[in-house]
Amino acid sequence: MTGTRIDRRFADLAGQRRAGLAAFVTAGDPDPILSARLVAGLPGAGADIIEIGMPFTDPMADGPVIQASSQRALKAGMTLAGTIDLVRQVRRHDDDTPIVLMGYYNPIYSYGNDAFLEDAVDAGVDGLILVDLPSEEDRELCLPAVEAGLNWIRLATPTTDSKRLPDVLAHASGFVYYVSITGITGTHAATSQTIASAVDRLRRHTDLPVAVGFGIRNGEQAAGIARIADAVVVGSAFCQAVADGLDNGKGTDASIDNALTLCEAISYDVRKARA
């Protein structure tokens, strides 16, 4: 066995000639206990990769749905230490599904970069996506994370021009996450035509698998992306499903069931997209 869980999963998906589904949920949403159940249930519902959002008070790149999800998690007492612990719990029963932590830098900086990397690796985290650490700030956390054996998953966007791409991809590993629109999470999606040409451009600069996300909320859209990219990322739709199950602001079994049912449905469409 070589590489990280992420490398192995993409090799696997290539063997099956299908795209993967990366499911994003926020750690601690709607509360830490239900959140652990939700995350643990995602692989069974067809998620090939789990992205766990580290909640933050000021999620500058997120739309209202993920903002609210983050707020619920924080209100329910979630912390970065709690997020790492969540990964640890999931790893007890699942040693294969790649887990990526995604979020903003300040909670990590506050935790202490070295301590965070050590604890994240120890808990079974495979990769990191940091929204507010562009390649200009690689010395900050990217290089130490790679050193610690984690994949550094880089965001590329419609504004990342070809001149800039080599720098952006320099320390990327695991996969490249193409943000399909200029904008925040949970708004509209780009057309598959523009996404296809953007993914082509990325592939000319890297051999890494390419995942596409932002604005993808149903099986039909996901299937469209699954014909173009190596993975489809869905986030706001799951956070909305959790929100739809709230009762008086409190999480219920329905929060979990809604999200897992949606995951099954999208996964079904992703799996048969290239058939």
Partner: protein, 402 residues
């Protein structure tokens, strides 16, 4: 940065020591690099500064006067107190110095739409003003908490043709307005120029806002030389994000005989936890594009700031201030809501100048130190805004409903 100067920063990546930087989403990064190129070119272009100073003179009303506050000086019975009167600027505060500079940069970049965040509404008004003057559409983000307490400015922005968007997320004040402006920017990168209102944000904002505001300190220095024939002993300014303070301080940083004091908002008292004093009560972190001192909890979550003054109600501070604090070149102190209110009333009655609640914090500190200083000690305080916008807030503290 050279060892013998405090005025050389930032380095080319926007770092003031460990502070500053460019912590933004990839979508914004190419634009921020573009902005930096435009700014560095403009900075070396005499025509750019001709346009800036021309508007400063004819539109803003510069230079602003330096005023000897004679009755206040006598009342406090110590140091000689001067006000640098940026509250007399067009639109009523120092904020217009910066918006004039940034709209010229926006024009240079060919941008067709302007966005801004605002707390007290002064930056929003100053932005709406230059947008009207330069015929560019303007969207201002403002927290609903601030919309309530700064109603006159909301109406002014609308009169000037700007659209004021209500921000209901988070603490519904300045930090959240900034988040929302960043979300707009990331969505409209191609068309939009973001006029940030203080010396914060990703590089090059802290540097360019400082350069536009440094007119305050340069004029003050010249004016003091003219009337007193020497440098001041102490300069004092209030700190929200730190732009009026940096504007006054920067030209004095390498004058080692000058004591420099920044006054943060202590709200209901530092020990109450309800304050906006990032340096006194915070620790280093990363928010809104830069590393600086932030109010945050043990988990690195940003804590809501509290101040009676909407313009100081921000849990961070510009990165250059963070660096100057660590270097020990500038002292950062704080004044509470009550102390600021007392200064507000005293200044109104003794000098016939109704100050904004923001500089009332600076004045509160002047009131603490002036009495014990000798009468040949010169203090220059930045009177960076007038209090028209605050009469509702102050009335409420007296149980008066206007």
């Amino acid at each position: 940065m050279t060892d013998n100067s405090y005025a050389q920063g930032p380095d080319q990546d926007g770092h003031f020591g460990m502070f500053g930087g460019r912590y933004v989403a990839e979508t914004l990064m190419p634009l921020i690099l573009d902005l930096n190129r435009t700014w560095q070119e403009a900075r070396d272009d005499p025509e750019f500064w001709d346009a800036f100073h021309g508007l400063g003179r004819d539109y803003v009303g510069r230079p602003s006067p330096l005023y000897f506050a004679e009755r206040l000086t006598r009342h406090l019975g110590g140091a000689r107190i001067y006000f640098k009167r940026d509250e007399l600027n067009h639109t009523g505060s120092h904020k217009i110095n910066n918006t004039v500079g940034q709209i010229l940069l926006a024009q240079r970049m060919g941008k067709t739409r302007i966005i801004a965040e605002t707390g007290a509404g002064q930056h929003g008004v100053a932005t709406a003003t230059v947008c009207a003057r330069f015929n560019l559409p303007c969207v201002v983000y403002m927290g609903t908490k601030d919309i309530e307490r700064q109603a006159p400015n909301v109406f002014r922005m609308k009169l000037l043709g700007a659209e004021v968007r209500h921000v209901t997320s988070g603490s519904r004040s300045l930090k959240d307005a900034l988040n929302e402006a960043l979300r707009d920017w990331v969505t409209n990168v191609d068309s939009t120029f973001y006029i940030i209102g203080t010396v914060a944000g990703p590089h090059p904002y802290p540097e360019l806002v400082r350069e536009f505001q440094a007119i305050i300190g340069r004029e003050a220095k010249e004016q003091l030389m003219a009337v007193e024939g020497r440098l001041p002993d102490t300069v004092v300014a209030c700190i929200g994000g730190g732009s009026n303070a940096m504007g006054l301080f920067h030209p004095f940083l390498d004058d080692r005989t000058v004591d420099i004091i920044g006054v943060e908002a202590a709200g209901r008292g530092i020990e109450s936890g309800e304050h906006a004093a990032s340096i006194t009560g915070g620790r280093p972190g990363v928010l809104h594009g830069n590393r600086t001192y932030l109010l945050q909890d043990d988990d690195g979550q940003i804590v809501e700031a509290h101040s009676i003054s909407a313009g100081l109600d921000y849990p961070g501070i510009g990165p250059e201030h963070a660096w100057l604090a660590d270097q020990g070149r500038v002292s950062y102190v704080s004044a509470t809501d009550d102390e600021a209110l007392e200064a507000f009333h005293l200044c109104s009655r003794l000098e016939g100048i109704i100050p904004a609640l923001e500089p009332a914090h600076a004045l509160a500190h002047v009131m603490k130190i002036a009495p014990a200083l000798p009468d040949d000690h010169i203090i220059c305080m930045n009177m960076c805004g007038r209090g028209d916008k605050d009469v509702f807030t102050v009335a409420r503290t007296q149980g008066v409903d206007l």
